[in-house]
């Protein structure tokens, strides 16, 4: 604000309001009904749901890596689950065989996860919680 702020000269203290009589008693009676305890807020996404989501993702990853026709080019058939271990390969080109849909899915999942956390954080922060 500028150095010569004429509004500062207004009688601001005169527009300060006095809280009504009995306000403290009213607040305290409301507080005493609900004593302060650590309020447990259930998470929006429970742990079980996160486990399921995680398991689903892992399944998708495994399926994409070991159970797609690209992974077994020579045979030209789907690799059965029983042959998973045989198909494990750490050769770099294997990673390029992961379908684009998986990458897009993972990126989308990550983006929406981040978006949800960001939104929740800003909302709770705005409420002073």
């Amino acid at each position: 604000m500028n150095a010569k702020d004429s509004l500062r000269e207004l009688p601001w203290e005169s527009v300060s309001e006095k809280a009504p009589e009995g306000l403290i008693q009213k607040v305290m009676s409301r507080i005493e009904i609900e004593p302060l305890t650590t309020i447990y807020r259930a998470p929006l996404i429970p742990l079980k749901a996160w486990v399921l989501i995680g398991a689903g993702l892992i399944f998708l990853c495994l399926q994409a890596l070991f159970w797609n026709d690209v992974a077994d080019e020579k045979a030209g058939i789907l690799t059965p689950v029983s042959q998973w271990l045989e198909n494990i390969s750490f050769q770099l080109p294997e990673f390029y065989t992961v379908p684009d849909a998986l990458w897009i899915g993972m990126l989308a999942f990550g983006f929406f996860g981040w978006l949800q956390l960001y939104w929740m954080k800003s909302r709770l922060s705005r409420q002073g919680l």
Binding site: M1, K4, D5, S6, L7, R8, E9, L10, P11, W12, E13, S14, V15, S16, E17, K18, A19, P20, L23, I24, K26, V27, M28, R30, I31, E32, E34, P35, L36, T38, I39, S125, R126, Q127, G128, L129
Partner: protein
């Protein structure tokens, strides 16, 4: 024997350790400030009282989340500002503040055109009447800056606006307030002061 005033932080610790009566001290300290902000934003005494109660109950429940990285008053104001803003938004119809004095009558002020002379009832009503024409957001900015004498940084923390946004908002609110007061005795005194 004079006792040293207990700090807000000590009172909060007492409340959190189960002595809820210590909260009365915090209420005593901040009830007028919070009520003033609520009334300036909502312009309705009953609603402001109810809102002030809600704010203190909400603050009490969230006391465990107070990290102490800002002043307690800033933290409390943050809750108060957002709660009052929510209440304002919820109101479908605002009751109009019925001031006995309209801005048009301002020329009929007292005979003592000094700054100390502004501290009479009529001039107070002039100022309240002008403030009531500002929006809830502008009113809150003006109240926090002039009435509570908070810095732009603190107002920014309370409102969640960026400091330049606060500055622009305050500038606009000040200009509007000056315009509303112009033509009144208060306004002419402001002009004299600016010269």
């Amino acid at each position: 024997m004079n006792q040293l005033p207990v700090s807000d932080t000590d009172l909060i610790s007492e409340v959190l350790s189960g002595r809820s009566q210590a909260y009365t001290q915090l209420l005593l300290r901040y009830q007028h400030m919070v009520y003033t902000l609520a009334i300036r934003m909502l312009r309705d005494r009953e609603l402001a009282e109810e809102t002030t109660q809600d704010i203190f109950v909400k603050a009490y429940r969230s006391l465990g989340n107070f990290k102490g990285d800002s002043r307690f008053s800033t933290w409390l104001y943050k809750i108060a500002y957002h709660h009052a803003l929510d209440m304002y938004a919820r109101q479908t119809r605002l009751k109009k503040y019925k001031s006995s004095l309209s801005v048009d009558h301002l020329g009929e002020g007292g005979t003592d055109p000094t700054w100390s002379g502004l501290l009479n009832r009529e001039r107070k009503e002039v100022l309240i009447s002008a403030l009531d024409q500002l929006s809830a957001r502008e009113n809150s900015l003006i109240s926090l800056f002039y009435l509570q004498e908070m810095s732009l940084k603190e107002i920014s923390q309370i409102t969640g606006m960026k400091p330049p946004t606060v500055k622009v908002g305050l500038f606009r609110a000040r200009e509007r307030l000056k315009k509303m007061l112009s033509g009144s005795e208060t306004g002419s005194l402001l002009q004299q002061y600016e010269r």
